[in-house]
């Protein structure tokens, strides 16, 4: 390569925006790109649930008693897997497993996405407030933070879910599983913002002292403008990293709570609920456990791998 073209390509590299650099790095990471495609596939499957289940002429409520034997077990190998029922059937009741899982993943994804976005928004808001205003406010939020971290989250969830659901139902906002989902998101957000808040606050404290903030102040920028135009753009990578890394965690959390029996209840369906039911049948119908377990593992794993890749791409310090 001649020195001239080397110089040109060097300039081309230099002239890339941070966003382009991050995107380029992400694209180079094959594992996380493949993971992203798989995760997006499941996401589309979840939110297009009525369309995809219609292809197989099934849904999440119809029962197929003819496909079950007299003892309530699905007829045929692999839990009754066939063209009519691609993932087999639920023993006992006889609903289609594909329908249950696809509709169930809609709940799991919704909970995970709403929770992640909410806690990031809460963390950003409180973190910027505490970091910029400081003083008493900073102290108070900091103390609340310490205090929340002393609470055993799963315990609080298990203990509070039932009565809080009653409370939510009493207000009339939502009922049954709707109320349970509202409670789930609420408790998860309340106990998960402190970690993110601390990172945001420390970032804001260091950004606040930078020259470009001083320059903006000298130019007469208002506080609002400084927050939105100067500080927030510097926090986006952090927010995206936390969002993508926490998403699979909340997906699993939803499944865990439903699995333990304190989340969504029958006749609703989520991965956790199906797994809970399957844990009673695994000796007679292992496929009924294996298929949902495999699905949860694949989705959580791919989301995690994608999140890791995204972090490596966005975090300039992690040049590994």
């Amino acid at each position: 390569m001649s020195t001239q073209t080397a110089e040109v390509s060097r300039l081309a590299i230099l002239q890339r925006s941070p966003r382009q650099i991050a995107w380029h790095r992400l694209k180079r990471n094959k594992v996380s790109m493949i993971s992203a495609y798989i995760a997006i596939f499941f996401l589309i499957l979840a939110f297009g649930a009525p369309i995809f289940t219609a292809i197989f002429h099934v849904n999440n409520t119809n029962v197929y008693p003819n496909a079950l034997s007299a003892s309530g077990m699905p007829i045929g190998p692999w839990g009754g897997v066939s063209w009519k029922h691609p993932f087999g059937l639920e023993p006992g009741v006889g609903r289609d497993l594909f329908g249950l899982l696809v509709y169930g993943s809609r709940i799991s994804f919704s909970v995970a996405i709403i929770t992640s976005i909410s806690f990031v928004v809460v963390g950003l808001f409180l973190g910027i407030s505490a970091g910029l205003i400081g003083g008493v406010l900073d102290n108070v939020i900091g103390r609340i933070c310490d205090f929340l971290l002393a609470f055993p989250t799963i315990f609080m969830f298990v203990a509070l879910s039932v009565p809080l659901t009653l409370r939510v139902e009493a207000t009339g906002i939502a009922h049954n599983n709707g109320a349970r989902i509202v409670v789930m998101v609420l408790i998860l957000v309340v106990f998960s913002w402190p970690g993110f808040f601390r990172v945001v606050r420390s970032q804001v404290l260091s950004i606040r002292e930078k020259e470009f903030i001083l320059a903006a102040r000298v130019a007469g920028a208002s506080n609002i403008r400084i927050i939105f135009k100067e500080i927030l753009p510097n926090l986006w990578p952090l927010a995206i990293i936390y969002l993508s890394i926490s998403l699979p965690g909340y997906l699993a959390a939803e499944a865990v709570f439903s699995f333990l029996g304190v989340g969504v209840q029958a006749p609703g369906s989520t991965w956790g609920l199906v797994l809970n039911d399957a844990s009673n049948f695994w000796q007679r119908d292992p496929a009924y456990l294996g298929i949902p377990a495999g699905m949860v593992i694949i989705v959580v794993l791919t989301l995690n791998l994608f999140g890791d890749g995204l972090r490596d791409a966005l975090d300039s310090k992690s040049d590994r």
Partner: protein, 332 residues
């Protein structure tokens, strides 16, 4: 040092005090009535009122809390006349559906939780540090890649899915007997039975922690190996083994202490998921049962306070340990 310790101790005690208030308030304002729940099927308003009085629920919430708080130190007496009964200090209330003091129920459950937490802790610390050091030592080799793959998969698998799969594996190996699972076997009188009871639960619980600690150890060891004092040690002509164990690991493992203490403290309050899957009647399992079966409020308050207390206490222990290891903390 003394000043730092007093300050930390004072804030921990304040936090514990606040914990009892907040837990009690949260559960107190919830729309559940233990007196009504404990009354059973043949219930009438008089029986409910009687129950309410006996449980001490007929006084304002702040006074209920005060009685609860005093009970922790002085014990508590319920009811009057012939129906009197006492829960000795430290009393955390009285569980009506079980007909026993909450402290007694917790004392029965705690050995399971403690054994589960200690066993899993030993397992994940040994495997995590071991694998992390090996991966860092042979960085870039196929061993390192294998360990990295384990870290990625292990840390992202949901605990309850891993737990279920391990449980099934144990069942196929005929290593688990669901009937004897819930019976306490003392490690002193029957070490093998104890081991058989817990080994698979330990593995299930330790797996994801092990992955996380492997990643931490590997990262810390690699980071420390580029420090000046490692170069100095190498320049002195020390052996690689000596550099790793005497110089590198000392620095690299100190930050792990924080995580280890907090994770262990969190588990002592009860590992709900693992305990439920392996049918071990520890703190997590009894509180889940209390919620699902008859919303046994006193037991739930008791287990939540105990779990929170463990987190606070281990936070304190970690801070003290860190101040001992790192003099900079004491001054700051």
């Amino acid at each position: 040092m003394v000043k730092y310790l007093t300050r930390r101790l004072a804030s921990a005690i304040l936090l514990l005090f606040l914990l009892t208030i907040v837990v009690y308030l949260i559960f107190g304002i919830l729309p559940v009535d233990p007196a009504r729940i404990s009354c059973g099927i043949h219930c009438n308003p008089i029986a409910v009122a009687g129950n309410r009085h006996r449980l001490g629920l007929d006084v304002p919430l702040y006074e209920q809390w005060w009685r609860f708080f005093v009970g922790i130190f002085a014990g508590r007496t319920y009811g009057d006349g012939a129906a009197r009964f006492t829960c000795g200090a430290p009393s955390l209330g009285y569980s009506f559906p079980n007909n026993e003091c909450v402290t007694t129920a917790i004392a029965h459950a705690f050995p399971f939780t403690l054994s589960l937490a200690v066993g899993a802790f030993i397992l994940w610390m040994a495997s995590g540090i071991g694998l992390g050091v090996i991966a860092a030592r042979y960085r870039g080799s196929f061993i390192d890649r294998g360990v990295t793959a384990f870290v990625l998969v292990g840390s992202s698998l949901p605990v309850f899915v891993v737990g279920l799969l391990v449980y099934i594996l144990a069942f196929f190996l005929h290593a688990i007997d669901p009937i004897s699972q819930g019976i306490w076997v003392s490690p002193l009188s029957d070490p093998i039975g104890f081991f058989k009871n817990f080994i698979f639960a330990w593995i299930a619980l330790a797996l994801s922690y092990s992955a996380i600690y492997t990643r931490l150890t590997r990262g810390n060891v690699i980071e420390t190996s580029s420090e000046d004092f490692i170069r100095t040690a190498r320049a002195k002509g020390l052996s690689e083994r000596r550099i790793l164990f005497k110089h590198n690991l000392r620095t690299a493992l100190a930050p792990l202490l924080t995580n280890a203490g907090l994770d262990f403290g969190g588990l002592l309050g009860g590992a709900i998921i693992t305990e439920t899957i392996f049918q071990l009647p520890g703190l997590g399992e009894i509180s889940l049962k209390a919620v699902l079966q008859d919303y046994d409020l006193p037991l739930i308050v008791g287990t939540t306070v105990v779990a929170g207390a463990f987190i606070i206490i281990f936070n304190l222990i970690v801070d003290i340990g860190y101040a001992y290891l790192d003099p900079r903390v004491r001054v700051g």
